[in-house]
Symmetry: C2
Subunit: 382 residues, 2 copies
């Protein structure tokens, strides 16, 4: 079956090459920007793909929401199956695209958009048909994991860890989407949509790694902990969806501590299956391309959807989840937190809080930073 590819960057090239060797699949034309069509198989207009009856499916790996949305809509309307690695696209327009796919009876799959080679969404989609997903999440951003690992294993400063990640191509020139937590938060939005048929698109709590310092790392390690950036989603007891991202401190022996460099770890807890954990490469040409091609094979076997056409957008409610937190902040702000333990040195307080709601912790940090105060916080994991 012929598969057209939208985009010929790192992942697009990988998909094109893998299609040459995949059973039952072959590469069709590749959409590139005008002027970049330096080979027979490259085309510059989406209509050359949507109007080609030989094209069975389209792999969208160009990134960004526009024109990806227009192109993917057009492909679906033309009756082509679509597979994408584009988390921004699915987080923004997933329900609309799934509705078109459903009307046309074609597939819309996006495994590669969450976890790269880690087959997280694929397995959630299968599990959810017979099991209840109690919660899900994990380490879903390789760039920040690489940086945190560099700070903790090689004692680099934040700035050096970022520069190192950029030099290796793991971080972009503007690293905001990664270090702010936004990239991984989009992935948990997709995972929630697949697991709960609800896409949380407001009320999300987003704390990245921008506040951690080498001094914080010293204190965390002295306490026997390892810091990771972790996304969490699930249903609270009253059935409200929660979804957030924040740094988490893990005791030695937690599986999260063994997630090194730019690796990802994703997990879900099924009512029947118990906890299922997945680890692997969350990005990169071949890992991401392998997830795209796996989805195409899944379509060959008859798989048609990950999201459902009636997937609803909802506001997340993070006021019902509670943890203890480790918080570093100016001494004069510390009294506002319900503390289990407080150490003060040189005007800086380090507090272990009692259990407090996720929403309250994120709100407190945001409020405190308004006057320029430096605050780092991390949940205390199990």
């Amino acid at each position: 079956m012929k598969v057209a590819v939208l985009g010929f960057g790192t992942v697009g090239y990988g998909v094109y090459e893998m299609l040459k060797n995949a059973d039952g699949l072959e590469p069709g034309s590749v959409l590139v920007r005008p002027g970049k069509d330096d080979a027979e198989f490259k085309v510059t207009s989406i209509s050359e793909i949507t109007e080609d009856p030989d094209i069975w499916a389209v792999a969208e790996v160009m990134g960004g929401t526009n024109p990806a949305y227009e192109f993917v809509s057009a492909a679906l309307r033309a009756g082509k199956h679509v597979v994408t690695s584009n988390k921004a696209l699915v987080a923004a327009y997933g329900p609309e695209l799934e509705k078109i796919a459903d009307e046309k009876g074609v597939a819309f799959l996006f495994s590669a958009a969450c976890g790269g080679a880690v087959p997280f969404l694929h397995n959630i989609a299968l599990a959810v048909e017979s099991d209840k997903i109690l919660s899900l999440g994990g380490i879903l951003n390789g760039t920040t994991n690489y940086m945190l690992d560099a700070m903790q294993s090689r004692f680099m400063t934040y700035a050096d860890a970022l520069a190192d990640a950029q030099a290796l191509g793991y971080a972009e020139a503007d690293p905001t989407a990664d270090v702010s937590g936004m990239d991984a938060l989009r992935k948990i939005m997709l995972a929630c949509a697949v697991a709960y048929n609800m896409l949380p698109d407001s009320g999300l709590c987003c704390e990245g790694i921008e506040s951690i310092t080498a001094e914080d790392v010293n204190h965390i390690q002295a306490g026997g902990y390892t810091c990771r950036l972790v996304t969490s989603g699930g249903l609270s007891e009253s059935g409200q969806l929660y979804a957030y991202i924040e740094p988490v401190l893990f005791p030695a022996n937690a599986p999260e501590c063994s997630v090194l460099k730019n690796f990802n770890m994703a997990k879900y807890i099924g009512e029947n299956s118990g906890q299922i954990v997945f680890m692997g490469q969350g990005a990169g040409r071949w890992p991401t391309a392998s997830a795209v091609v796996r989805d195409l094979n899944d379509i060959l076997h008859g798989k048609r959807f990950m999201m459902r056409p009636d997937c609803e957008r909802v506001a997340a409610d993070n006021s019902l989840c509670e943890h203890k937190y480790y918080v570093r902040l100016p001494e004069e702000l510390a009294d506002a937190l319900p503390a289990e333990k407080t150490d003060v040195y040189d005007g800086i307080a380090r507090v272990i809080t009692k259990e407090i709601p996720v929403q309250a912790m994120h709100d407190f940090a945001k409020e405190s930073r308004k006057d320029g105060s430096s605050v780092f916080f991390a949940a205390i994991g199990e």
Copy 2:
């Protein structure tokens, strides 16, 4: 779709209950032993299932090779899809059963036979269509992992760890299949069949945990290592299949160290995907039932096979894989091993060997034990 269940033990009950709540599936009749048919839905003859046109698929969870083989063959011949959790059945008769399934155009899936809830075979089967699996394996027996963890985390003796596992229902009264390594070895046979279309049924090297002592654990921990029982399979550079099981020592921070209690960890390395790791519950009513029901959903989506009908039985060749080993043995035998380091105390030698072939190490231990010598060995992992 109606699913008949063969066997109504721990897993059978779980499958029956899960089918009541699974989308698109419902429980049909359940095959039990004569005299045990104390309810309307229980039947005692396989023909009541094979001749029932309402039965769409059969879930075989009775265990053992006979009469499971006769019953599964009959179900496939009658045009019913079959899902099984029975690793002994698939290791012994997988290729024959797949041939019947292929002729009849029905599915034969066995995810639950390897890793319980851990979706290992399912993901290998999907990956292998577009990627090359370089190697696979992991911690595939929860009973022995529970015992090794009890010996290392709670400093129990082997006998106490076994008694504890038996009291909790993790080990059977006769624990031989687990502690000898045979149970996990059957699982790697299945994984190789799915990944390589070759079922290794001879030439296998099988070392379990029967030789480890509390004294060995002391020495292993003093060296900073953790011991796990690990199965390995893959293709050597010359294309020969290797498959074996043996204890392995891991340095702190290896993901294997975080596999506690009766959990499983399975992994494969794909040429494109890189290393993909799976962790979860390898046994138990609900985890195993969840894998059986996942396979049934997979059939609903159109999936038809894990093994191919032309899967060949081959002899494994373990002479081409080499590692360093940690070996504890009587002093007088130590000279026979190519040593990197040897410590002798009170007539007992503890040797770190140079890299030696897996086959040679297993042969040496077997030979040494013939005269009653006590030998423990473990590969040194990375």
